[in-house]
């Protein structure tokens, strides 16, 4: 318990997400709340910018900071490396997760059951995707690399094929082909899942994305746990 408290204290003093990104989350959350209060039917659209910003928030990069010695105090504090890495992921995802929670709660109150809830498996899945994959990709790279790479893929797919945002997921899983298309679209553009009450076969659309995010998270934790952290200046 004491060690968990220390990790929390450390990442409060040394935030994984830069203050500017956290401020942007605050602004986006306020804007989303205003949009939802004016018209609750736009809740899913209001949440989309927060999910896109979460791509950048969670792509915080571990190695670059560790190799500069910023985490030395934490690494020698009697806490296992695996716990530190998982705490870094949690600290990277926290601002976006809080924004999501606030916006979804406001939407729930504002819509009063008249509009689809944002507290759905699809919305949670979208949040998990944008919180894990960019973090895992960026562990060895400079900050934001995973998010920039993701946006490049998104832009490329939108130019050479159908824009993922145009693909309908709800009620689309009738054939193998439609499942593959919908699953890939959800993986490339997670905001598609927001607000979708994915039930029955539709829920299978989330499966590849969740599998990829869990695998990348596990691999990143395993990989950081095993590798050396030399100081940049000493090599």
């Amino acid at each position: 318990m004491t060690r968990l408290v220390y990790i929390a204290r450390f990442f409060t003093a040394v935030p994984a997400v830069p203050p500017l990104t956290t401020s942007t989350f605050t602004v986006m959350t306020v804007i989303a709340i205003v949009v939802i209060v004016i018209d609750p039917s736009h809740a899913a659209g209001a949440l989309t910018p927060i999910l896109l910003l979460q791509l950048f928030g969670s792509a915080s990069g571990f190695d670059v900071h560790a190799r500069r010695g910023h985490y030395d105090l934490l690494l020698t504090r009697g806490i296992s490396r695996r716990r530190i890495v998982l705490a870094h992921w949690a600290a990277s995802a926290l601002p976006g997760a809080i924004s999501w929670l606030i916006v979804a709660s406001v939407s729930e109150v504002a819509a009063a059951g008249r509009e689809p809830s944002l507290f759905t498996a699809g919305s949670a899945c979208a949040l998990i995707l944008v919180s894990t994959i960019p973090w895992a990709i960026t562990t060895r790279l400079p900050r934001f690399s995973g998010a920039i790479g993701w946006l490049l893929i998104l832009a490329t797919v939108a130019v050479v094929a159908t824009p993922p945002s145009a693909i309908r997921i709800h009620g689309s899983v009738n054939t193998w082909d439609s499942w593959v298309t919908a699953a890939l679209a959800a993986l490339v553009y997670p905001p598609l899942l927001v607000g979708s009450g994915l039930e029955g076969r539709d829920a299978l659309v989330m499966l590849p994305g969740l599998t990829v995010s869990l695998l990348t998270l596990a691999f990143a934790v395993w990989s950081i746990d095993r590798r050396d952290i030399p100081l940049e200046a000493a090599q």
Partner: protein, 231 residues
Amino acid sequence: MPVLVSVRNATARYGRREVFRDLSFDLRVAQSLGVLGPNGAGKTTLLRMLIGCISPVTGEIRIGGFRPRDAVVRSGIAYFAGGTTLPPSVRASAWGTLGNGEEVLPDRRRIRALSQGLKQLLGLRTALSRNPLQLIVLDEPWEGLDSESARWLNATLELKRDRGAAVIVSSHRVHDLAGFCDEYLFLLPHEATLLKAHEIARVGPVTPALLTDTFDRLREHARVLDSSETA
């Protein structure tokens, strides 16, 4: 006194570049070791190996019988590698509370705004404020410190050592380490030599002049070895 740190035939390498080879030494509880060497000799790499951040390519390191990665989880180890390793955007006062919870430097400025000496002092005070400590590993700790802060550092290290902590400090300047350590490890290309204080100074403390003389002799020996290997 029991052995706390045991290094056996440790070799460090970055890619194809070998930093040091077959390094062996022991350090006992409540003893201090000074690591001396020119820039690029592997001082920082060795110290990072001791805290489990780098694994030796060959050989093994044990701290209290455990691998360094396990030892940092079980024992109290303080490590600091200089002011440049502090995150620049963090406030000094916030960083200072990460040692034992108390503010070690009541300064609201961000670390990037501090002078080199203040950064060094902040990092040292934070790392050393933790209790109890079994092992203290400091990389060039006197760098940038004024005489008053240097005196504080020496007194703190001596106090911690008297309370049972083993101390390992590195420096490329002999006068920082002279008289302070029980043993001296000279890290040079192709050669690492461990000498006890009484082997350097038969009578009295190790003075900067004696340490410089020993260091120069070993450096010359290493140069001869290096040129004969090249030939």
